[in-house]
């Protein structure tokens, strides 16, 4: 299956999508750069016919193709090529491109005609001297034409092996602040190479604005200011991607005009530095009620209870916000919610974990979730938590296979004090079905722990980042040293344990079932495991016996040629005959060499399953893997290293995004050069401080929630109304699926049940471990959670979770029987509690009434169940299975009927002289976590008190509050 990532069109006017980082492109070359004079731009140097200089393939020709659009996705950069001619997409495969130009295509001959340069197709096509599907790209005798012409005339030289690499791409000016519309500034781009040369490459650079409403940029690099706001323009040359921030203040409140704003924390100071430049004034502080609701939903995924709100509002302690955060961090819901988020980022998916553990009673996804939750609860440092995943093997240190299987068998039986959370490593991460190929692992690892998308570089140069195909290929090596299955070293022990179970000749699914049964009967069963494999000493596979034979033949032929040549010299009269034989032998050698190449390729294909002996860290050095017992250890060490810019950032940014709707880098999992942080100093500070605090996750939560920035009101002012990237006010955002589901349960629950739910995670959606098909059943929370966009944890993207609104969500809240029955529910429901307190006759217990249809179904189920038991007793597994399915289907039908029955009928009583003030207050506290305004109180009271049916009136009030936007968003 091809997994080509075709990035945004490099069409004539518009290049690429998305934004940028203020990093200049620096490669890992160590050559010291000697400052030198900047060479003038190419148009000056190549416009004249007489020029002596030979253009360089890497520095001039390939960038020019890119600039002219030739190597774009819609043209010759397409994987199918175009018109029989293909260039590497986004042009960084110099050998490929050189071959494409100089090796003859099937019909047309080579694109570069060195003998007759002017007749080269690569000149004739883009000038439309001959027909060109891509139209006119340049004019005859333009500088572009001359440049390419000159290169061909000089013999079309390729990139030499020791060619200098670009070390830096410098843009001036490096930041722009405009004060009005239509101001113009010309950008200048200078490339600095490892040999010390510097060159003005502006005409060979592609430019792109991330928001052309704010800043428009021409392909010549001329920048024109537009609307107020801030964005980046990005310059692309060679493998350099450099963003330049462009701003135009939104108000005249800049510099001295900027009002005094409070910045009590480092975060606030850094946020305001940016806001000051933009003329954006932050909103005021949120109210206590807003803060409590916001932080509870964000930090522990749980609504505050009504008494909690009241107590918090009453509290006069000036430090109560900080104290509240501390209290929340100690709750089980904190660990549950963040284990859920970490499950999202690490990809805890049931479908990928099928048959990873031999037990059918406990799921691997549950292990995964529990393991994470345990670490979050104990506040294990983030780097250590990650180490437990990255370095995981199924066996603990020094655990023999027998011990391992005994221990794990106990874990899955839930015996004694053994639990999966006690295991050192969370090995399931490596056991996933979707995570067994090195390339899939490289992609998933980079997504989870670095927040980058290197999948693009699997097939072509990353269009928005520095990563090339080589980078990807070399990084992949780190992921070849770990397997999941039966460890060959302990296969005998495995088989012995298996034999001891006496399962006869059962195979596949039957065997798995039998093992699971044996496990629950108390036997020790063998476990498959995640284990490390060591690379063998460095011996390239040369193709075995076939390769050896070919090598010998070639050697013989070469010797023969030497002899023949000597003979020819010795006997000049027969030279012609000898020459002929030499020619024949040479041809034979060529043939054998081709064959040798094939054999080598086959061998390398066979090699794929092998452990790599070396690999390169992304943007860093190559590592000799043969020195390591577990080749993942240099990878882990690298994550913690000082020069690793991404590890801490990726996490810090995701946590930030959880609190602010958007990350400092947005999307939060797309750190790339072309997508720079909206506030780099802020992200730098937080990541560094996180590292300095030893990756203390709770510190990070305290630091963010304790900032004034987090505690700002959602109510905007004139200057920050349109800002959604600079954290100048709180942005209303939809509750995440699990939080929304739980909030509906909490808001409708009786007071006592509500208090229970604060600590009891039973039935909470934030306590659901896995994701996947199994959860999509229509009964239980699965339906609501999928409608509200719970993460599917499928595709290495934070966007597997959706916080968008949809019609079905609104329908669910307004009219789904799940919601309606929760409101009207007899047991544990708030309405029922209130009506009881008011002395209204309880609602008729509709839920207790079994309809004739349901009765019929339950009878059928009874009969079937008996049959299942009988079939099992008779060891007719297949039959039992089939019947089991029928039972499940009937169960689903039954559940549906139960759901569709009328909600409990209210008694229809109207309570005279009802003063509903305190009830309305409570309704507001339990849904919107605040007291009603006077107006809201009046309207609500008149509705409830005026209702002909008081119970119905109360239900309507609760229904209406659940359906306000204020309920379903956090703000």
């Amino acid at each position: 299956m091809t997994r080509h990532l075709l990035f945004s069109a490099l069409l004539v006017g518009g290049v690429l999508a998305t934004a940028t980082s203020s990093a200049t492109a620096e490669t890992n070359t160590t050559t010291r750069v000697v400052p030198s004079k900047v060479a003038p731009a190419v148009p000056q140097r190549f416009a004249a016919k007489s020029t002596e200089e030979v253009p360089d393939f890497q520095r001039h020709v390939v960038p020019l193709f890119s600039k002219l659009g030739c190597s774009g996705r819609a043209c010759h950069g397409s994987f199918q090529g175009r018109g029989g001619f293909r260039l590497s997409l986004f042009g960084y495969d110099f050998k490929f491109d050189h071959d494409a130009l100089l090796k003859a295509a099937a019909d047309d001959g080579p694109r570069a005609n060195i003998a007759k340069p002017s007749e080269s197709l690569m000149l004739q096509k883009p000038t439309e001297t001959v027909a060109h599907e891509g139209g006119l790209r340049m004019k005859v005798d333009s500088w572009q034409y001359r440049l390419l012409h000159k290169w061909i005339t000089a013999g079309a030289p390729a990139v030499s092996k020791d060619a200098a690499k670009m070390v830096k791409l410098e843009i001036t000016p490096s930041e722009l602040v405009f004060s009005r519309k239509d101001e113009k500034v010309q950008l200048k781009v200078v490339a600095i190479w490892s040999d010390g040369t510097r060159e003005d490459v502006t005409p060979l650079t592609r430019f792109k604005s991330n928001d052309d409403q704010v800043a428009d940029i021409s392909q010549q690099g001329l920048l024109t200011s537009g609307k107020p706001g801030d964005t980046f323009v990005v310059a692309f040359y060679d493998n350099g991607v450099v963003p330049v921030p462009v701003m135009r203040p939104l108000s005249d409140k800049v510099g001295r005009n900027y009002p005094n704003v409070e910045t009590p924390t480092q975060i606030d100071q850094l946020v305001v530095v940016k806001l000051k430049k933009l003329g954006i004034v932050p909103s005021g502080l949120s109210t206590d009620a807003e803060f409590l609701r916001r932080v509870s939903l964000d930090l522990v995924g749980t609504l505050p209870t009504a008494p909690e709100v009241e107590a918090f509002l009453k509290d006069v302690d000036p430090g109560k916000r900080v104290k509240k955060v501390d209290e929340l961090l100690g709750r089980p819901a904190y660990a549950a919610w963040w284990a859920t988020r970490l499950s999202d980022f690490t990809g805890n998916n049931d479908d990928a974990l099928n048959n990873v553990v031999p037990s059918r009673n406990r799921r691997a996804s549950q292990d995964w979730y529990d393991w994470l939750k345990d670490r979050v609860e104990k506040n294990v440092a983030y780097d250590r938590l990650v180490e437990g995943i990255v370095m995981a093997t199924s066996r603990n240190k020094d655990e023999s296979f027998k011990q391992f299987s005994t221990n794990m068998s106990a874990v899955y039986r839930g015996e004694g004090d053994k639990a999966f959370t006690d295991r050192q490593g969370m090995s399931h991460y490596w056991a996933r079905r979707t995570f067994r190929q090195p390339q899939d692992r490289a992609i998933g690892f980079a997504y989870t722990f670095l927040g980058i998308r290197i999948q693009c570089a699997q097939c072509h140069k990353h269009p928005f980042d520095q990563w090339t195909k080589d980078d990807f290929a070399q990084f992949q090596g780190f992921f070849t040293g770990v397997n999941f299955g039966i460890n060959p070293k302990t296969r005998t022990e495995y088989n012995e344990l298996l034999a001891a179970l006496e399962l006869g000749d059962k195979r596949g699914g039957q065997q798995r079932r039998a093992i699971s049964e044996a496990l629950s009967e108390g036997k020790t069963v063998p476990f498959q495991e995640v284990y490390a494999v060591v690379p063998k000493a460095n011996s390239p596979n040369k193709g075995g016996r076939a390769g050896k034979a070919i090598r010998q033949q070639i050697k013989k032929l070469q010797q023969r040629i030497t002899t023949l040549k000597a003979d020819a010299k010795a006997k000049p009269e027969r030279a012609a005959a000898f020459k002929k034989q030499v020619k024949l032998a040479t041809q034979q050698i060529a043939k054998l060499k081709r064959r040798q190449k094939q054999v080598a390729q086959q061998a390398s294909r066979r090699n794929r399953g092998r452990v790599a002996s070396k690999a390169r860290l992304l943007g860093a050095e190559e590592v000799d893997l043969t020195k390591f017992a577990d080749i993942r250890s240099p990878l882990m060490e690298w994550l913690r290293r000082k020069d690793n810019r991404l590890f801490a950032r990726a996490f810090v940014n995701r946590v930030w995004a959880n609190y602010f709707n958007v990350g400092i880098v947005e999307p939060p999992d797309d750190h790339s050069l072309a997508n720079p942080p909206s506030n780099k100093p802020l992200l730098d500070y937080l990541s560094q401080a996180f590292i300095d605090h030893d990756y203390d996750i709770k510190w990070l939560h305290r630091e963010i929630t304790g900032s004034r920035t987090y505690q700002l009101s959602w109510q905007p002012n004139e200057t920050n109304r349109l800002d959604d990237r600079n954290f100048s006010h709180s942005i209303p955002r939809r509750l995440p699926a699990e939080v929304a589901y739980d909030a509906i349960q909490q808001a409708t629950a009786s007071d006592s049940r509500g208090v229970e739910m604060k600590t009891d995670l039973e039935g909470r959606a934030i306590a659901i471990a896995g994701a996947g098909r199994r959860l999509n059943s229509r009964n239980g929370p699965g339906y609501a959670l999928s409608v509200f966009g719970r993460s599917t944890r499928e595709s290495n993207c934070d966007c597997d979770r959706s916080n968008e609104p949809s019609l079905l969500q609104t329908v669910f809240l307004q009219n789904d029987s799940d919601t309606l029955q929760l409101i009207a529910s007899n047991r544990n429901g708030w309405i029922n509690q209130v009506t009881g307190e008011l002395g209204i006759k309880p609602a008729r217990r509709a839920s207790g009434r079994v309809t004739p249809e349901m009765l019929k179904l339950s009878k059928q189920m009874k009969v079937l169940r008996r049959k299942v038991v009988a079939a099992r007793a008779a060891k007719e597994t297949k039959v039992a299975q089939k019947l089991g399915i029928q039972v499940r289907n009937l169960q689903a039908d039954y559940a549906k009927l139960a759901r569709n029955r009328a909600v409990p009928k209210s008694s229809g009583e109207k309570l005279a002289d009802l003063d509903s003030t305190s009830i309305v207050k409570q309704a507001y506290l339990r849904t919107l976590s605040r007291f009603p305004t006077e107006q809201e109180m009046t309207r609500s009271r008149s509705y409830v008190e005026g209702s002909e049916d008081t119970t119905q009136g109360l239900r309507d009030l609760l229904w209406a509050l659940l359906n306000t936007k204020e309920f379903i968003v956090n703000h």
């Binding site: 109304r721 595709s795 609104p805 949809s806 019609l807 307004q814």
Partner: protein, 445 residues
């Protein structure tokens, strides 16, 4: 009637003169993207009749999960060796020269209403992957979830405010994928039964509520939901929530929505024509929904995974209700004048092994993606044709074969949707609606 697929069907005119056509606009347009077809040329081709714009405004997708045997339904090989040909005989349809299985007599009597695609071929032999392929038109990629037909169609052709745009009976493999939950299907969750009232979760007023009740509480909601009124215009989220709230309200209170789902309103004669089976009544519901204005309905009926006793199961259990329901639906749509605006697409995820296995007596057939059949009808589709051909033992296409992507491109084309249109995923990756397909021109001649 049969054909082998020419290379680059839809764009043949273009490819034939690939380098010869001068198109200065090509790169500037870009909208039609990576196929290399510029808008100017697209329009030119339209003008020359090489591309038709869609006729259909809604669609019914009949999914047959499990993978029905092509050789025992629409692609019989009576002259193949015994271990291939199976137990069924072909019968003549009402279109001369077209024969289908003897166990599809009702469909044989209306072969003029649909077109059979034979020799459809792909390589995904697992149910889940095959289903994903035929439900999206794009070969599944591990890195990206493609939206199903229904999601694309509801995005491209927004429907009525008081009806859902995309309904699945009882459910579907189609997901909204990278288009987002906004375009997710409404699953009915169960199949309707003849003459019985039918309602769908959340849509109908159940739970004893009356419209008056709903209107009353809605007015309360309106008065209480004012906190954000000052900033709603500036927030996509709040604006969206408002829009959906209005839409949900009209759907819940709309008589039209309620009645569209309630097949008990159908006269007995019409209802009976579809047959008593769940599939028949589902087809009836699909017709009703399309008639009310729903854009996209998918009906699924499984059981086609006939590894054992292929013939018995087809003859006795699978084909009769299928034959009756599909024939009734096509006839009914036609009679009501709906067929010309409703694109119908019938397919499973793959065909079945031409060689009969010996797991049971009589034998079964196993998964076989290399050769399968599909049906298309309605909209601009010219019925009464066979397009494509399989080899003499139905082991593969004769010639190049039709890919599910081509079928998908044609399905979209029938609905006036350009399958080469590009969407941008959340990460800015440009993705065509159908990755590698081209429209099968003959369908629309």
């Amino acid at each position: 009637m049969t054909r082998t697929k020419p290379k680059g069907k839809k764009f043949m005119a273009l490819h034939a003169t690939c380098d010869g056509v001068k198109r200065r606009d090509f790169l500037k347009v870009g909208a039609l993207g990576a196929t290399g077809l510029g808008l100017a040329n697209y329009l030119q081709l339209v003008a020359h009749g090489a591309v038709q714009t869609g006729k259909a405004t809604s669609a019914i997708f009949v999914n047959l999960p499990g993978g029905p045997s092509h050789m025992d339904t629409f692609d019989l090989k009576p002259n193949a060796p015994e271990e291939y040909r199976g137990l069924f005989n072909p019968i003549q349809t009402n279109v001369e020269g077209i024969e289908i299985s003897e166990h599809l007599p009702k469909l044989a009597a209306c072969a003029d209403k649909y077109t059979i695609l034979r020799g459809v071929s792909h390589t995904l032999g697992a149910h889940a992957l095959g289903q994903e392929f035929v439900n999206t038109g794009t070969r599944p990629l591990a890195s990206l979830e493609y939206p199903g037909y229904g999601s694309v169609i509801t995005k491209e052709r927004p429907g009525l405010v008081d009806l859902p745009g995309f309904v699945a009976i009882p459910n579907t493999r189609q997901k909204a994928g990278f288009l987002g939950v906004k375009y997710a299907p409404l699953n009915t969750g169960s199949t309707p039964q003849k003459g019985r009232p039918f309602s769908v979760r959340g849509i109908a007023l159940a739970n004893g509520l009356t419209i008056t009740d709903v209107e009353k509480r809605q007015s309360l909601l309106k008065d209480l939901d004012t906190t954000f009124s000052g900033i709603e215009k500036d927030s996509q989220l709040l604006d969206g929530l408002n829009k959906f709230s209005r839409q949900a309200y009209s759907m819940i209170t709309s008589k039209k929505a309620r009645e569209a789902f309630d097949i008990s309103k159908e006269p007995a004669a019409r209802s009976e024509a579809y047959g008593d089976a769940a599939f028949g009544q589902s087809c009836l519901l699909a017709t009703r929904l399309v008639e009310s204005g729903v854009r996209f309905v998918t009906v699924s009926t499984g059981g086609w995974d006939t590894h054992r006793d292929n013939f018995g199961r087809l003859k006795d259990r699978l084909l009769p209700p299928f034959d009756q329901a599909l024939a009734a639906m096509l006839g009914d749509l036609d009679q009501r004048g709906l067929l010309e605006r409703t694109a119908v697409f019938v397919t499973g995820e793959f065909g079945r092994t031409p060689k009969i296995n010996s797991r049971s007596t009589p034998g079964g057939r196993d998964h076989y993606p290399r050769c399968m059949t599909m049906l298309m009808a309605g909209g601009g589709v010219k019925g009464g044709q066979v397009i494509g051909e399989s080899d003499e033992k139905a082991t593969g296409p004769a010639g190049e074969g039709i890919s599910p992507s081509d079928a998908a491109a044609s399905f979209y084309h029938n609905l006036g949707i350009d399958h080469t249109k590009e969407y941008h995923t959340k990460i800015g990756r440009p993705v065509m609606i159908v990755r590698d397909g081209s429209v099968i021109d003959e369908l629309f001649v």
